[in-house]
């Protein structure tokens, strides 16, 4: 490998200084002249018919800007995959946080009084909160059958296997919702008027999603809508589709206010209660093994609770379904996946996007199966792990030289598995209240969009030489704390062979940057990074061919070549558009073929201590071992993994959304139990580097991967500690664990 200038080196974040000094401008930092504040009046019933809106006494209503569904100039529904979710309810209420009325005023205190004084007259209809009841069509609340999407993945013939199998193991697994809990709540500022169009500044992941939704909402052409990303304090998927809604609200108010700027920033509770969260899931697995533990069949029924509207549920379901079979070779597989409606706020994107749900089920199931068959969970995995040349559930042939048994061995070695196992055996035999256990999960995460998503998007990104001799990166990919600015700069500076300061990333603004797609799906480094790499190669070649740049050169030389070129030719830009790598074939109808251009692979291993007095599970040690192609920036990569594991520990053990009649009842950080640094051990992160030829510098995507493994690893460790395979639902709160153990005592008192 050639020594590289930037790739593989930890570089300081491009925007880090501005963030730590407070210079960075977030949406709520911006105050504009004549600006009004906006708030949302929401339904408080989960389902019903809107009969009337009353404006109570004691409020000077004539001072307020008031917007309802009747004020919408264009398409009432948010343009996303389907157009089913209204910006404002017209007559039907489908969840308890449905926006109905928007208010704006310069006095935010008066605004709060006014918000409380609006009374909605809603005739209630019977609501549906339970996923199984939705699947059974107890009420029909969406479409013909409540189903947002159905997927069937079939390989071989599962029904030919059951009768002859040595072992048939069945299990049902459940995962709860999860709140993204980015540090900065959703917010947007809009200026809208009939002549100039609509401009929005906001905390968002996907400027062009908002652009599309606003064009439809206001019935405006491309160039009359402009979306600008402000500094964004975290997203995790929670700012993928929701910003379209809040940006639309601010813009509707501004239009009615005659073009005065309107700012809407949610407080923490409104953000937690009203915006999207992770889809809850239920997975049923029936599996068959031969006498040696070889997997013969997997029959999987995977169901997601999508909430009231379709939003991104079909694609979340798709990723979940494709990952449902885990990293295993299985000749007969049937995966039936459904996403169904309930009367809760719509569930949406969250780091992992369906994969954490289905991977929890399969990775938990493998340990359940091992226990039932009397096999060691390591040996059972090794019998079945995918190798180069094997086919996944969709028939995708693994073409890379992936060594999953090796990954498993390395992770367990780092955890000191064998020695700890022996210590635990002795420790747990004593009568003490603390029981210790080890568990692991082995898994993959598909990089970039699913199936034909990337070729359909046909993303474009570019680079531009500037009159000051610097190069700007032009992409719609947003920095939201994950390090996109730094990574894209490193990739470009590597190609141009210049110091990192010579490259700047332009703030995403639909008037200035091309549509390089949404900042999601672990695609920014691998897909957009590749595009800016190609564009940078083009720019460098242009400079060389023009004669201004002579190899070898230094930073100064490069910069002066850029200046000279621009002095002569006015501008220097290069773009690149996505091309599907060769031999990637996907059938969207049959769900067959190459679901992803590549996968990141990992094995996570954990040690837990269960306090049998309080039923608390303490994570004592955690090893995250992964293969993500080549690591471009070790510090950022480790940070991504640590953060994802912390989120995964919360997902597995404590982050419970408490639902009450379709509404989140614990929408405060006090009562929604995200792990603190005290709840998390040192997370030991290791990378196995295996450069991926189609990624910039050999990189794959890694952002979502760490979300997939912690929950199953932890519950497998609890199984090991307590000697029971009963825990099959997350979060495994102490209350839930106590109830499980009580139930077991009741059923089998002799085991106590």
């Amino acid at each position: 490998m050639n020594p590289s200038l930037h790739i593989g080196h930890s570089r300081i974040r491009k925007e880090g200084r501005a963030k730590v000094t407070g210079e960075a401008q977030y949406t709520d930092d911006v105050r504009m002249e004549y600006m009004l504040y906006g708030v949302t009046v929401r339904s408080s019933v989960p389902r019903g018919i809107l009969k009337g809106i009353e404006f109570g006494e004691g409020i000077p209503w004539d001072e307020f800007v008031i917007v309802t569904a009747k004020d919408v100039p264009g398409e009432l529904n948010v343009a996303l995959i389907e157009r089913d979710q209204p910006f404002l309810a017209l007559d039907r209420i489908n969840h308890p946080e449905e926006p109905v009325v928007l208010l704006a005023h310069a006095d935010r205190y008066l605004l709060e009084k006014a918000r409380a004084a609006v009374h909605l007259d809603i005739e209630p209809l019977p609501p549906l909160f339970d996923l199984e009841e939705s699947l059974a069509c107890k009420e029909v609340i969406w479409g013909q059958d409540n189903l947002f999407k159905k997927i069937l993945i079939e390989k071989g013939d599962v029904d030919s296997v059951w009768a002859g199998a040595a072992h048939v193991v069945e299990g049902e697994y459940k995962t709860g919702s999860q709140e993204q809990l980015y540090i900065e709540p959703n917010g947007a500022i809009a200026v809208a008027n009939a002549e100039a169009g609509v401009t929005v500044w906001g905390s968002l992941q996907c400027p062009y999603y908002v652009h599309t939704a606003l064009k439809a909402l206001f019935n405006l052409p491309d160039d009359k809508v402009r979306v600008i990303q402000m500094e964004t304090g975290g997203g995790f998927g929670g700012k993928e589709d929701y910003p379209s809604l809040i940006a639309g609200h601010a813009a509707l108010l501004s239009l009615k206010a005659g073009g005065r700027p309107v700012k809407i920033v949610y407080d923490r509770e409104e953000d937690m209660v009203a915006t999207t969260k992770r889809h809850p899931s239920r997975t049923r697995i029936r599996s068959a093994f031969d006498a040696e533990g070889r997997l013969l069949a997997l029959d999987i029924d995977f169901a997601l609770d999508g909430g009231a509207y379709l939003t991104l549920s079909p694609v979340v379901l798709s990723r979940g379904a494709i990952h449902a079979g885990g990293p295993y070779r299985c000749p007969n597989t049937s995966i039936r996946a459904r996403a169904a409606a309930t009367n809760t706020p719509p569930h949406g994107a969250f780091r992992g996007f369906g994969a954490p749900q289905s991977l929890f089920a399969i990775e938990r199931h493998m340990d359940v199966a091992a226990a039932q068959m009397g096999m060691d969970p390591i040996a059972l995995r090794k019998q079945n792990l995918l190798r180069m040349g094997d086919a996944t559930a969709t028939g995708q042939i693994i073409k890379e030289n992936v060594d999953l048994p090796g990954l498993l061995d390395h992770a367990l070695e780092k955890l000191d598995y064998s020695a700890k196992k022996e210590n635990h055996r002795i420790h747990n035999a004593s009568l003490g209240p603390i029981k210790k256990g080890l568990g692991f999960a082995i898994f993959m995460h598909g990089c970039g969009f699913t199936g034909s998503g990337e070729s359909y998007l046909a993303s474009v990104a570019g680079v531009e030489g500037r009159a000051d001799g610097k190069v700007h990166v032009l992409a719609a990919s947003t920095e939201m704390g994950q390090g996109a600015n730094t990574i894209l700069s490193q990739v470009v500076a590597e190609v141009l062979k210049v110091p990192l300061e010579y490259v700047e990333v332009v703030r995403p603004d639909t008037a200035l940057v091309p549509d390089s797609g949404p900042t999601v799906a672990s695609r920014t480094t691998m897909v957009v990074g590749k595009l800016v790499q190609e564009a940078a190669i083009g720019l460098r070649q242009t400079l060389i061919q023009s004669g201004f740049l002579k190899v070898p050169y230094d930073g100064e030389g490069f910069s002066s070549a850029v200046k000279q070129y621009i002095a002569k030719n006015d501008h220097l830009k290069a773009y690149s558009q996505y091309n599907t790598p060769p031999q990637i074939v996907w059938d969207d109808q049959l769900y067959k073929g190459d679901a992803y251009t590549t996968f990141a692979w990992a094995c996570y291993a954990a040690e837990v201590a269960v306090d049998t007095r309080t039923f608390e599970v303490k994570v004592e040690d955690f090893v995250a071992f992964q293969e993500v192609g080549r690591v471009l920036n070790p510090t950022l990569a480790e940070g991504q993994i640590e953060g994802g594991v912390a989120q995964g520990i919360g997902y597995g053990l404590s982050e419970q959304v408490v639902w009450s009649k379709g509404r989140m009842a614990n929408g405060q950080m006090t009562n929604y139990i995200m792990a603190t640094s005290m709840d998390i051990p040192r997370i030991r992160v290791y990378f196995e580097e295996n450069p991926y030829p189609n990624g910039p510098g050999g990189a794959k995507g890694l952002g979502e991967l760490p979300m997939d493994g912690p929950a199953p690893a932890l519950l497998n460790a609890v199984q090991d500690a307590l000697g029971t395979s009963a825990p099959r639902e997350i979060p495994l709160t102490p209350e839930r664990l106590m109830d499980l153990l009580d139930l077991m005592d009741f059923l089998e008192p002799s085991n106590v």
Binding site: E112, T614, N666, T670, I673, P734, E735, M738
Partner: protein, 295 residues
Amino acid sequence: MRGQVPGCTVHTPTTLIGALEILFAEKGAWRPLAGGTDLMVLFAAGVLPFSRFLNLWGLDELRGIETTSDSVSLGALTTYAEIRTHPLIAAELPNLVQSAWVTGAMAIQNRGTLAGNIANGSPAADTPPSLLAYGAEVQLQSLAGSRWVPYENFHTGYKQTVMLPEELITRIRVWRPKGDNFHFFRKVGTRKAQAISKVCLAAYARAEEGRVAEFRLGMGSVAPVPMRALTTEMLVQGQAIEELDGQFIAGAKLALMEDIRPIDDIRSTASYRRKVSANVLGQLLEEMVERFKRA
């Protein structure tokens, strides 16, 4: 922020007498404000039913930890941070230090006060179990004079206390333990830090001539008010240390499950609180026996 800042009045008296005069003149009209760590949460959510605040923060008469040979007296405005770092309290009343450590975050501990913690009346507060275990007393003062109330009688119902509208808490007094004693504190929270208790248990015991001469058990989050587990206390008190065996402990656990009145809420369940209270009592008694046998 949904609280109505423009509608609020904050009055800041400079003397205790000045504060008591205002409370007396307009009974019930002013809400005393100390560290503000409870009030501000409700205020920001727009659900605080008060708009006139009597800011006590400047009243130096309500500060300071005073010790005599028999007692420790803490000014009403003593913060958790001050409790946490006081050497005599750490040495003799360790449950108080532990309570202070597990209340909120550092910033809360720097600002929140002991009197505020009890006046707020939350059954989930973490200093009350320790105060109950130590048999604390609370001094209430009004223009008419002052009175000492045993802390175990202070709370009369959910968020209700014996305080009259014209009274302020001025001091909290705890007797210094004598003889061969044992202290136990365990909070079972929703997480390791920044957590609200699901169960909180504090105990103080003194042994004399092989028997449990004194035993007080304070509990949080298991009833509408912080409470002493009186039946359980009576069971343990007077027992010979030798007789506190597994069978006895099992009985005590059953007694405690009857003593408490937990509920289901968004943080936990009644059945969890009941069972875990009993299990932690088991831990406490085992540790106590071990401790007294060692002496």
